[in-house]
């Protein structure tokens, strides 16, 4: 089997491996990330977070996902007074 064909076969196998569970895996990953978002934004919502000093650094990185997150958590509007995204 040539290198190219083997790679192509490997790709097909990979698709066969992943296809059936892509959705379930993405959901699991998102659940983990949702928990992470809660940890990072905990202090801003008045929940004590002993790691707050460290998670503060991550805030700018997660701003973009904030809107999607609070909508997914069942809050139509941003829960933070000083932080509006919608």
């Amino acid at each position: 089997m040539g290198g190219g064909r083997r790679r192509r076969f490997g790709e097909l196998l990979r698709e066969f491996y992943e296809g059936r569970h892509r959705g379930a895996l993405a959901r699991e990953k998102r659940e983990e990330e949702d928990l992470f978002m809660l940890l990072v934004f905990a202090e801003m919502m008045g929940i004590e977070n002993p790691a707050g000093y460290y998670t503060l650094e991550l805030l700018p990185l997660l701003y973009e996902q904030f809107h999607d997150w609070h909508v997914r958590m069942g809050m139509d509007r941003s829960p933070l007074d000083h932080f509006r995204c919608c």
């Binding site: 698709e15 296809g19 569970h21």
Partner: protein, 566 residues
Amino acid sequence: MSAILLAVLALGAFALGYIFYSRFLAERIFQLDPAFETPAHALEDGIDYVPTNRYVLWGHHFTSVAGAAPIVGPAIAVIWGWLPAFLWVVFGTVFFAGMHDAGALWASVRNRGQSIGALTESVVGRRARTLFMVVIFLLLLMVNAVFAIVIAQLFVGFPSSVIPSWFVIAVALGIGYLLYRRGVPLLWPSVIALLLLYGSMFVGDAVSLALPDVVLGMSPAVAWVVLLFAYAFIASLLPVWMLLQPRDYVNGLQLFIGLGIFFTAVLLANPSVVAPAYNQALPADVPPMLPLLFVTIACGAISGFHGLVSSGTTSKQLDRETDVRFVGYLGAVGEGALALAAILACTAGFATLAEWEGFYTSFAAGGINAFVQGGGTIISAGLGLPAHFGQTLLAVMAVLFAATTMDTGVRLQRYIIQEWGHIHDLAVLRNRYIATTLAVAACLVLAFGAGDGAGSGGLTIWPLFGTTNQLLAALTLVVLSVFLLKKGRPTVYTLVPFAFLITMTVMALLVQLRGFWDAGRYVLVLMDVVILAATIWVALEALGALRRTGRGGPGAPSESELVAHE
């Protein structure tokens, strides 16, 4: 009768069905359009909606729908003789299953990839949706209970399968770890996993692991059922990537290899069918063939479960609408081929009629051991393998199918219970551990409540599972018919199978009700009554929906509602 001749006849019929009937359906009934933008493209998100190569998609679809059911059903049903089972599998696959699977796929593709459950609500009504959920829950409950019994039966009958069957869990965990955590390319782990799997069968063949006669006061079969549910409890709580995904993958690979090995062996060994074409000397407990044949063989002839897969995941990955024919119809054909293999193994793998009759002493005996014994003999003879190795191979194959389905089944039940927790705002049910405990407990009640069920390894409950599966198929055909009617297309190709299925389902339920009542199995009586009520309900909803649609009156869902995406 030569087994090769039977195989050629059936596979030839499948080929003709694909070439002619599926083309007719594709061109005239579904009117598949290569230019139609499928949900995989329209809603592409890289997760659920992903355009997929049709061969890969067929592989997914087939391995998702194929399992232990198309083996167990025919294995039981050949007790009436090989001819009825053979004819039902051939005609069922060509005219019922192929149309049903492709139809469900098409209807879903035309409705933004919605599942049959969601389509039921928009096409038939909200009540029917509730009904649909109830039927699915019952189906999962029965599939888990019945497969645990099947696996226990195999472990007791073929102790050589115990080591490889559990060893594969370790192999799957290894693959999951290598792929997900280490990012290793898939090819070599796959090859090594298969070598390990088949190597472990040689080990199992040498070292049989049978439980002692009494385990903590339980018989071996009961102990295995309890152990299996303990396993399913843990497995369904683990992350998908860790166990379920690699397990499904290994299972898919060994399905193709197993089918290849079996049909090659049939070709090389050319065994003769020793079982009677029509069994005149039926054991006393065998129920009448009409209607029971048509619910005993569900998967392999037509199965509602396929509609769930078609519309649940496959429809969201279809690259072009014309692939409906290839993926949907040939998915059913693959399942038919598996059922055919089961029929051949259970009827041609024996030296004499007396030996065959030794396996079919009662209906509840279940025939799965006949499948392993007979099929194993064919494989060993055809490929020149050690006498027992063929049996170990098939026993492990059947166990892996059933066990993978149990893993998924318990997980799905947990999701449904958690969803009820959300709908009714019950925090207790939302807890994954409590939901899983409830799911497993319900399955155990059913597995042991079936009277002689787990204790003596009986499969009395099997036809009830098949009945529920057919009910689901009937419900899918209603949805499909209403959808076709709205589009002004002929509905006779869906309504005739629907009428047939509903008639057989009701008759089978009545026959079984009588049997369960006489045997004093009240758990099953209750289940039977619930399913009977659901069946009548389905029939009434169907008539209502068809009449509403026919009149085009109020209550009929509007065309735009149904085909919002066209």
